[in-house]
Each structure stands twice: as structure tokens, then as C-alpha cells.
């Protein structure tokens, strides 16, 4: 829009600027009319002559009077002519002055018009510029305003965000504190429990050690009995291994035997199963806890070493 206006403005101004060049002031014509001005012709006057003299003098006087009259007539005539010419000259001068004046007035008017036009164009231009400047200013202001608004909104948002963050942190902190407190409580409790446990453990350790010793004793007994009971088949190699899961009754009687992993050799696996089943009553500790922990269910691995 601004550009359009600018283009229109430029077009109008340009047109109004070029228009006055079409009629220049006719100064040279009036100058030619003034030159050349004709000069008055020279008058020759007659010399005085004696008698005859009186005729001659009368004549002379008559002639002199005629002459004078002629002269006076001529003079009058010349004078009239002169007057007429002067009149014409004057008229002409006046006309010329008139024309000149008219031209001058016209030129002046034109100049004035032009000036006015220019001024107007300038004014328009300035107005346009001003408008544009104002528009620009308005736009900038608008922008500024928008930016300001935006900034304010942003600030508002930031503010809200910060508030939320503060809130969250606060909540977190509270939670942490709660948690810490809970942990601390727990720790205190655990410590208490631990102390209790330690006391129990000390007792249990003594018991465990006893159980372990007891267990090891019976493990060795079982191992020895199994060794006596196991007939390693002649196809056995030292790589063969069979694992059995043994389940015992509290009396030591075999409640169940299961081949967990075989050797791939049926004779070998059978020999292991047979050995495990041979012990129909396993040597087990009299202590029930030791039995439950170690001998209720256990694994036997048959894996020959030092085969002949």
C-alpha cells in the first residue's frame, strides 16, 4: 500500500514537474520589436540678403515670411509626425510593456503555480513521507506493543513456571524429608532389629557351626557308604557325570531319587541310581534342624576319578 502510494505520488509529482516546460516566456520577440528607432531629418536654414534690398527686402520679407511659414508648417508637420510617431512609439512601448508585463505576470503566475505545485508536491511528498513515517512509527509502535505484550506474557509464563517449579521442589523436598525421616526411622528400627539379630546370629552361628560340623560328619558318612555301594561300570570314563536328587524321610529312609542330569551312558546312570538306592537308610544327624537344612533334600554327583 505504502509502495503504491509512493508510486502514485512519484507519478503525480513528475507530471506536475514536467508540465510547465511546454510554454517558455516570449522574451526575444519583444526585444526585436524595439530596434531600430529612425532619427529626425536635418533642417537647412537660408542666409540674410540686402536692397533690391527693400523689394528684395520686402520680397525678402515676404519670402522670409513664406519661408518662415513653410518652415513653420514643416515644423508643425514634422512635429505632428514626430508626435504621431512618438505616440505610436509610446503606444508600441506601452503595448510592449503590456505584453512584457503580461508575460511577466504569466511567468510569474506560472512560476507561482509551479512553485505552488512544487510546494504542493513537496507537501504531498512530505505528507506522504510523514504518513509513511507515521505509519512506520505506528507499525514499530505496534510491534513494540506486541513485543511488550509478548514479553509480558512470557514473563507471566516464566513466573508461573517458576512458581510451579518452586511448588514442585517444595513438594519434593517435603517428600524427601518424609522419606529421610522414614528411612531414618527404618534405619533405627533396622539397627534395633540388627542388634537383636546379631545377638541371635551369635547364637545361631554357634548353632550353625555345630550344624555344619554335624552336617559334614554325615556327608562324609554318606559319601563313604555310596563309595562302597557304587560299582563303576567298565564303560565309564572320567568325563562321565551323573547327578541325582535325593529326598529323605526324617528317619533317613530314601523317599525319592531322581536323575537330574545323566552322563549319556545308560549303564553309568543306572550304576549311580543303583548305588543311591542301595542305601535304603541314609546316615543322618539326630538333630532335626540339621537334617532339615542339609539332608531333607540334597544332590549326589557321581564322577569317577583315577579310573584304572
Amino acid at each position: 500500500m505504502v509502495l503504491h502510494l509512493a508510486i502514485i505520488g512519484i507519478a503525480v509529482t513528475g507530471w506536475s514537474w514536467t508540465n510547465p516546460k511546454h510554454d517558455p516566456p516570449p522574451r526575444s520577440i519583444s526585444a526585436r520589436l524595439i530596434t531600430p528607432q529612425p532619427k529626425p531629418s536635418p533642417i537647412v536654414e537660408p542666409d540674410d540678403q540686402p536692397d533690391r534690398d527693400e523689394l528684395r527686402k520686402a520680397e525678402e520679407q515676404a519670402r522670409k515670411l513664406a519661408e518662415q511659414k513653410a518652415r513653420e508648417d514643416a515644423e508643425r508637420k514634422t512635429k505632428a509626425l514626430e508626435q504621431k510617431r512618438e505616440q505610436a512609439e509610446k503606444q508600441k512601448r506601452e503595448e510592449q510593456a503590456k505584453i512584457k508585463e503580461a508575460a511577466r505576470i504569466k511567468a510569474e503566475a506560472e512560476a507561482k503555480a509551479k512553485q505552488r505545485k512544487d510546494a504542493e508536491a513537496e507537501k504531498q511528498k512530505q505528507a506522504e513521507a510523514k504518513r509513511k513515517a507515521e505509519e512506520e512509527k505506528r507499525r514499530i509502535e505496534e510491534q513494540k506493543k506486541q513485543e511488550e505484550q509478548k514479553r509480558q506474557e512470557e514473563a507471566e509464563r516464566q513466573k508461573q513456571k517458576e512458581a510451579a517449579e518452586r511448588k514442585r521442589q517444595e513438594a519434593e523436598r517435603k517428600l524427601r524429608e518424609q522419606h529421610l525421616k522414614a528411612t531414618a526411622d527404618q534405619a533405627a528400627q533396622a539397627e534395633k532389629a540388627e542388634a537383636q539379630k546379631q545377638a541371635q546370629a551369635a547364637a545361631a552361628r554357634a548353632r550353625d557351626a555345630q550344624m555344619m560340623t554335624e552336617s559334614e560328619k554325615y556327608q562324609a558318612l554318606i559319601r563313604e557308604r555310596l563309595k562302597q555301594a557304587w560299582y563303576i561300570p567298565s564303560s565309564a570314563t572320567e568325563e562321565m557325570e551323573a547327578r541325582l536328587q535325593i529326598t529323605l524321610l526324617p528317619t533317613g529312609e530314601l523317599a525319592g531319587v531322581k536323575l537330574i542330569s545323566g552322563s549319556g551312558n545308560a549303564a553309568f546312570d543306572n550304576s549311580a541310581l543303583s548305588a543311591a538306592c542301595f542305601l535304603n537308610r541314609y546316615p543322618i544327624p539326630g538333630d532335626r534342624d540339621t537334617f532339615e537344612r542339609y539332608f531333607r533334600q540334597f544332590t549326589i554327583e557321581f564322577n569317577p576319578r583315577r579310573l584304572r
Binding site: S215, Q219, I222, R223, L226, K227, Q228, A229, W230, Y231, I232, P233, S234, S235, A236, Q245, T247, L249, A255, G256, K258, N265, A266, A267, F268, N270, S271, L273, S274, A275, A276, C277, F278, N280, E292, R293, Y294, F295, R296, Q297, F298, T299, I300, E301, F302, N303, P304, R305, R306, R308
Partner: protein, 445 residues
């Protein structure tokens, strides 16, 4: 030779132990609730004694010929291995012949590990055997089959059952249906009488294949068990013969100047190792049996003899006194440098490798006594297996589990079988005179 024996598996009877299993399941569940790591007991050694096995006399129906009972042949077979001991039938609390007659508790009380029960039914000259082997401890049947053979061939049937029982328990095929060849020497009308004989592994059903007033030596079985090679002095000097068992046809294959001895077949039966001294000194040669072409395998100023192929048939063991006294050497292949195997004493001779490539067996002298020893080919460890005075000519059973050798008993020489791991010796029934040079025949299917 061996009659073909037909075998059929018996149907496995369903034997339910529901109550037992249920109880075990409950206990397993209870035990599973405890959290600690389960106890593991490792057993790395076994009983160092023979496995107690009861061979219950078989029930009989129909015209079963008199003589040795099938069950007692089986019993003797198993005991001969040195891996089993059997309960005498008089000590048995019952004589079951089928599963529902077996009271495991009784056998357990008797300390038995396995019980073999069965029955024989004769019908139109054929005897059918039905037999079942039970594990006394697990109360499970581990073998159940029927097999049949002509009435005249009850021993073959018995050896077949022995093979099956042995394999079921040990995981190794039995070698009871194989044959032995050996040389006997007795005096007949004041003259020496050498005989080449072939018998069952228990020494029974011996048949004389050749008789000669001159020494017979070194019988060697062809891989298919159809021929025997041996050394005979019948021409006044040693020569190597091949003897076809079925036809009795004999072929003299090596009669070179000097020594012709120690024949040993290749695994494909196409060639034979032998010791010849035709080139001045005892050396080992390989003869192509088709072309009779010889290839010399050793070349040493010392004596090289008693060669036999290793289990893979690529390398050979032999005896050489290149170190001063006889020792066992091994050539990885026919062109390789010999490597000495034995170092344990000053005299080690007549090597016989087993078919598994694990051991080589030989005559071993220590403290002036000759025994049988073996060396573990992987570890080089030597084990002396017999400590009698003059044991000789070891021969390994084709399954690698037994060893037969000749030994002195009083004034005469007898054959003895032991477990290849050593242990109790089982002497074959003595015949008149000396028995020597045993050769264990191959497994034939």
C-alpha cells in the same frame, strides 16, 4: 561256527509306584520351601570289588538236553571277567523265573545287585530263552529279551545271554560268543604231539584243527574270524601257514630261509606282519597276501620281532632288543622312527594292544618272574597285572575287558583269563598236557 541267535526285546511291564512318587513329590515340595543352597555330595570312587549278581536257574519246559545249564554257563561267563561274583543257587531264598516272583527285599538282604531270571522252552528242536535282568536296588528291569537257538547249540545261546547281560550292566559289549585258539602239547606214545585247537571263551567245545609232531606256534586270527595264521615246524624249519577254518584248507605263505615267525593280520585282512631273517637278521616285514610281496618295516642290527598293528591300524608295536634287552617299541606309522614304550624292567616282550587304543599288554619280567603288565598309552603308566612265576603270551579280548595268557600250574601250562584291569584269575579247565599260545578271536556278528 557260531550259530546265529535271534534276539527280541520283551515288553516292559508297567510297574506303578504311585504312592511312593506322590510322597516324594510332597517331600520335594516341602524341601523346596527352604531357601539355602542345596547340599552336594561328590562321589569320585567306587567299590573295588566284583559286582554281586545272581543268575537264577532258568525254568525249563520241553525237551531241554541234559548237561551244563544255560544259567550256569552264563554265571561262569560273568565270573570269568573278574568283574562279577555270583551267588550259588543253593543260597538263594527263592528261584523266581519271572518278574512277579522276584522279591527284591530278599535279594537285597542277600547283598545282590542284579538278578537274572528266565525260562527255556523247547519246541521242535529249537530252544527259546526268555530272560529278564533286574536291578535289586532300583527294582527296575534293565534287560528283557527272548532269544532262540537250536537244541544242539545251547552253549551259544547261553554265551549270547551273557553278552547281553554284560552289556546291560557295564555298557560294554560282551565277548563271550567269541572263540579262542591255542596250542596244546602232550605226549602220545612217547612222542610230542602239538595240536592247534579252537574253543569257546570258557574253553568248552574245543576242536582240534591241526595236529603235528613238530612245534606249532603263534596262532593269529584273521579279522573276520574265518582263518588262522600260525607257525609250523612241520617241514623241520619254521614256516607261516594260513588255515581256513571252514574247509581246513592250509596255505604256506612264508617259508624263507631262516626265521619265519610271529604272523599278525592287518585290520583289513589284506596283509600280514611277520618276522623274517632272510636278510640275515630278524626284521619285521609286511606281506601283501594277494601278491605275496614283502615290504621291510624295520632295519636294525638288533632283533625286531612280534609285531602287531595298533588299534587304528596305522602304527605298530613290536619287540626289539636294540637297547640291550627286549623292550616294546612303537612306530607311529610304517616309516616313523621307533619309540620305546617300556622302561619298567629289563625284559618286556610280545606286545598286544587292545582294540580301544588305550593300553598295550606284554610279558614283563621282574625279580626273575615273568608276569603280564600293561602300559597306558596316554599316560605311559605301567601296571603289573599278574605276579605268578612264568606267565606268557597275553591276548586281549576284542572288547578290551579281558586278558588271556598262559601260565604254569604245577608241571603243566594252563590258560588263565583275568579282567583287563587285573584282579582275580580264572583258569580255563585244564586239558591233558600243556596249553599255550592263546589267541582271542574277534567279535563276529
Amino acid at each position: 561256527m557260531t550259530q546265529r541267535i535271534l534276539t527280541m526285546p520283551l515288553p516292559q511291564k508297567s510297574h506303578t509306584v504311585t504312592g511312593f512318587a506322590l510322597m516324594a513329590a510332597i517331600l520335594t515340595f516341602l524341601a523346596a520351601t527352604t531357601v539355602h543352597a542345596e547340599l552336594l555330595i561328590r562321589v569320585t570312587e567306587g567299590a573295588d570289588s566284583a559286582i554281586p549278581v545272581s543268575i537264577v536257574p532258568f525254568a525249563e519246559s520241553g525237551a531241554i538236553p541234559p548237561g551244563d545249564k544255560v544259567s550256569s554257563i552264563v554265571r561262569d561267563d560273568l565270573v570269568m571277567t573278574g568283574e562279577f561274583r555270583s551267588l550259588a543257587p543253593e543260597k538263594m531264598l527263592s528261584l523266581p523265573s519271572r518278574r512277579d516272583e522276584v522279591f527284591f527285599r530278599d535279594w537285597r538282604m542277600l547283598g545282590q545287585r542284579y538278578v537274572l531270571v528266565g525260562g527255556l522252552t523247547e519246541k521242535a528242536g529249537q530252544v527259546q530263552a526268555r530272560y529278564e535282568l533286574f536291578d535289586v536296588n532300583t527294582e527296575k528291569r534293565i534287560l528283557g529279551e527272548t532269544a532262540s537257538a537250536p537244541v544242539a547249540n545251547l552253549r551259544s545261546l547261553a554265551h549270547h545271554i551273557s553278552d547281553k547281560v554284560y552289556e546291560a550292566i557295564t555298557g560294554v559289549p560282551g565277548a563271550f560268543s567269541t572263540k579262542l585258539a591255542y596250542i596244546t602239547l602232550d605226549k602220545h606214545n612217547g612222542k610230542s604231539r602239538y595240536r592247534l585247537q579252537v574253543s569257546d571263551v570258557d574253553g568248552k567245545r574245543a576242536q582240534i584243527r591241526l595236529e603235528s609232531p613238530e612245534p606249532l606256534l603263534s596262532p593269529a586270527w584273521s579279522p573276520d574270524g574265518k582263518k588262522l595264521a600260525y607257525v609250523s615246524f612241520e617241514t623241520g624249519k619254521p614256516a607261516i601257514y594260513i588255515h581256513e577254518m571252514a574247509s581246513g584248507k592250509r596255505t604256506k605263505i612264508a617259508d624263507f630261509p631262516g626265521l619265519n615267525s610271529a604272523p599278525a593280520w592287518s585290520h583289513d585282512g589284506q596283509s600280514m606282519l611277520m618276522t623274517l631273517s632272510k636278510d640275515g637278521n630278524a626284521e619285521i616285514y609286511q606281506m601283501d597276501l594277494q601278491s605275496r610281496q614283502l615290504k621291510r618295516l624295520t632295519n636294525h642290527w638288533a632283533i625286531d620281532t612280534e609285531a602287531s598293528w595298533d588299534s587304528a591300524g596305522k602304527g605298530l608295536f613290536f619287540t626289539s632288543d636294540r637297547s640291550g634287552g627286549p623292550q616294546i617299541y612303537y612306530k607311529e606309522n610304517v616309516n616313523a622312527e621307533p619309540r620305546r614304550i617300556t622302561f619298567g624292567s629289563r625284559y618286556n616282550a610280545r606286545p598286544r594292544p587292545d582294540s580301544n587304543g588305550k593300553f598295550v599288554y606284554y610279558v614283563h619280567q621282574r625279580d626273575r618272574a615273568f608276569g603280564i603288565a600293561r602300559t597306558n598309552l596316554k599316560t605311559g603308566e605301567e601296571t603289573v597285572l599278574t605276579r605268578t612265576e612264568s606267565d606268557e603270551s597275553p591276548s586281549v579280548s576284542p572288547n578290551g575287558r579281558m586278558l588271556i595268557y598262559a601260565t604254569k600250574q604245577g608241571d603243566s601250562s594252563v590258560l588263565t583269563v583275568i579282567s583287563a584291569d587285573g584282579g582275580d584269575a580264572y583258569s580255563l579247565p585244564a586239558s591233558e598236557g600243556d596249553v599255550r599260545e592263546p589267541a582271542w578271536g574277534p567279535l563276529t556278528r
